[in-house]
């Protein structure tokens, strides 16, 4: 019934338009290498303050899961992953292109993504409210355990160097303390500056790190390689089709479970899904030579992870990645408190967004199949035209946060930090995650201690479960980090 109401609310001109706009922008962002959903969300976040909350979240969510569709296009056609989570698709996708089967690879990637996106949304509809009810039992110690568990994401996001990731994460937590202390209003790191007493806002920091930093680092990249291949037949047939569809279903399960855990980033989940396909295949040695399961499985996992990421975000207010961290910021900006109360107090909003995901997946299928040639050409626009345009948008975005130029200077400062971090292979995602979760972590920690001292974390079952899960996820991440190529891990740390 709630879903039916959600669908009814969605079918207004403005909501459908925002959904379509999000899907188009998401596909565009996915196709363009070097510009990820996190950068796009950070740039568009301030613009959404002028929109109604439902429409803005529909659009931003569309960008997030739409980018997963678009990322496979350039992976398959020109062996350049549009998104880090589409790296695995290059292995067999580009091999299929060289065999003149690009059309089939693109068809399977789009259909696999659609299957995963739709099934993932259905699962969200059933699982989400259930988790929300249990989350009502959470107090400060439980929230501390949950946020601590989320911080295990830092290990996955650390890239090849755990010390750099931990260092960046801890610095993010320290940056979050700048300003007035949340419980006693004591000034910290303000140096008697009135502007620093309010601390740094998330939008300028995110725009600086992901937007300005990316453009400065990519200043001289001009991708002028022209795609001249033939797409060939679009739809696979017979056994090929059956194998692809089965791989999509397996990838959906793998991706959805992985997406529920804040500690596993999409790139690692897609490698895991590729591994599963190899293990399920009678001919694992053929992977890498143009096997359709090598495209279908990871692409489905990719999209299922994106849908599953919404569950901890909406029900518990915990982001699973930098992009979902920005979605969290969007929810807060619009006065929507993510967590168990979101399903109670803003039921109409939640079910409208869920309904938009169903429709959004249909739109994305339509956008990605017939228009694939167009997306391939857009991906070749040189940075010399895109760069200044995006920098100017970053300035506006940072300024719109509080309408003060100080925030733009903060964005520029963090842009320089982001540039230096990129050049020295420092992951930025742990820094932004630490910054975002720092305030919540501190409040939960200090409030919990005042409830019952340090033992309060060990005498309540839920925090203990989260601490154990933190250890398990950290160990799994460390094991898979050893098996994934180093460059992929470093690139993924920035997405």
């Amino acid at each position: 019934m709630d879903l039916v109401n959600g669908i009814a609310n969605l079918f207004s001109f403005s909501n459908l338009l925002y959904c379509f706009l999000g899907c188009v922008l998401g596909t565009l962002v996915g196709v363009l290498p070097g510009i990820g959903p996190a950068a796009t969300l950070s740039i568009l976040l301030p613009v959404t303050t002028y929109m109604d909350p439902t429409g803005s979240i529909i659009m931003l969510a569309g960008i997030f899961y739409g980018a997963q569709y678009g990322g496979s296009t350039t992976s398959i056609l020109v062996n350049i992953p549009g998104e880090v989570s589409s790296v695995v698709t290059c292995f067999d996708g580009f091999a299929m292109t060289r065999q003149g089967r690009a059309g089939q690879a693109l068809w399977m990637a789009a259909v696999g993504s659609f299957i995963a996106g739709t099934l993932g949304t259905i699962a969200f509809s059933f699982i989400g409210p259930g988790i929300a009810i249990h989350a009502l039992k959470f107090g400060p110690p439980e929230y501390f355990g949950l946020i601590f568990f989320s911080l295990t994401l830092i290990v996955s996001l650390s890239g090849a160097s755990i010390t750099k990731g931990l260092g960046a994460g801890l610095i993010g937590l320290i940056l979050a303390t700048i300003g007035l202390d949340p419980l006693t209003a004591s000034p910290r790191f303000t140096f008697s500056s009135v502007k620093l007493m309010r601390g740094f806002e998330l939008i300028p920091v995110a725009i600086g790190l992901f937007g300005i930093g990316e453009i400065l680092a990519s200043a001289d990249l001009g991708r002028s390689r022209i795609y001249e291949g033939q797409l060939g037949r679009m739809m696979p047939r017979g056994k090929e089709l059956a194998k692809g569809l089965l791989a999509s279903l397996r990838g959906t399960v793998v991706g959805f479970v992985g997406g529920l855990l804040p500690g596993l980033v999409p790139a690692i989940v897609t490698f895991f899904a590729y591994d599963v396909e190899k293990k399920c295949s009678k001919y694992p040695e053929r992977f890498g030579t143009g096997v359709i399961e090598g495209v279908a499985g990871p692409e489905a996992a990719n999209n299922a992870t994106a849908q599953a990421n919404f569950i901890p975000l909406f029900t518990l207010g915990i982001p699973s990645s930098p992009a979902t961290a920005l979605l969290l910021a969007a929810l807060v900006l619009h006065g929507l408190e993510p967590g168990p109360m979101l399903f109670q107090a803003n039921k109409e909003f939640v079910w409208t967004v869920i309904a938009s995901m169903f429709i959004g997946n249909v739109m994305l299928l339509i956008l990605n199949l017939p228009l694939v040639g167009l997306w391939a050409r857009i991906s070749l626009i040189p940075y010399k035209y895109l760069g200044p345009t995006i920098l100017a948008i970053c300035v506006v975005g940072a300024y719109s946060s509080r309408s003060i130029l100080f925030d733009v200077w903060v964005a520029l400062g963090f842009g320089i930090v982001g540039l230096i971090m990129r050049k020295n292979n420092w992951p930025m995602a742990p820094l932004i995650l630490g910054f975002l979760l720092g305030d919540m972590l501190e409040r939960a920690f200090r409030t919990s201690l005042s409830m019952g001292g340090p033992l309060v974390f060990l005498t309540r079952p839920i925090p203990v479960v989260f601490f154990v899960l933190s250890i398990v996820v950290t160990v799994i991440s460390l094991i898979y980090l050893r098996r994934v190529p180093k460059q992929v891990i470093e690139d993924d740390a920035d997405e």
Binding site: V47, Y50, S161, T163, K164, L166, G167, L170, I171, L173, I174, T177, D181, L183, T184, S186, R188, F189, I212, I215, L216, A217, A219, D220, Y383, K384, G387, P388, T389, L391, A392, V395, V396, Y399, S400, S403, L405, V408, W409, L412, G415, I416, L419, N424, W426, E442, F445, R446, L449, S450, G453
Partner: protein, 149 residues
């Protein structure tokens, strides 16, 4: 160098934490740890990480060669960064529209658009579009130019 920066951040956190902890506490607030000790405790793991990083980096620097930096790319990046800084200053002095025109003009030249005519026309077009979208349509209020105050 990276380890030293991490060490500096850890030291700053611990120093600020100790400074706050030494201030008199409000007895009515039930806050066991306080703002100071939380910062201090954040600094401790960062201190450990900085030492670990220095050890790991030292081992790697003896075995790995650093890639050569592209001087032309570095100059371009520095110019783009400086132009961005000048843009922010210019917004406060000459207003958003004029500052945007100058920004696009300089940036397009820096990124390699050689034709002055193309640069000027493009800059005017971008500046006007951005002004119409963000100032007129989105009603964003930028600082008034100095000469109009």
């Amino acid at each position: 160098m990276e380890g030293i920066l991490l060490l500096a951040a850890a030291s700053a956190s611990m120093a600020e934490g100790l400074r706050l902890a030494s201030q008199p506490k409000d007895v009515h607030i039930q806050d066991v740890i306080g703002p100071g000790f939380y910062l201090f405790f954040l600094g401790l793991p960062l201190l450990a990480v900085s030492v670990a990083h220095m050890v790991v980096s030292h081992k790697k620097s003896t075995t790995e060669e650093k890639p050569e930096t592209d001087r032309k790319m570095r100059i371009r990046m520095l110019l783009m960064t400086a132009t961005l800084g000048a843009y922010i200053l210019a917004i406060d002095i000459v207003g958003y529209l004029a500052a945007s025109f100058l920004f696009f003009l300089l940036e397009l030249r820096i990124v390699g658009i050689k034709s002055w005519a193309k640069s000027i026309v493009s800059s005017i077009a971008f500046a006007v579009i951005y002004y119409l979208v963000f100032v007129r349509f989105c009603n964003m209020i930028f600082p008034t130019p100095v000469f109009l105050r």
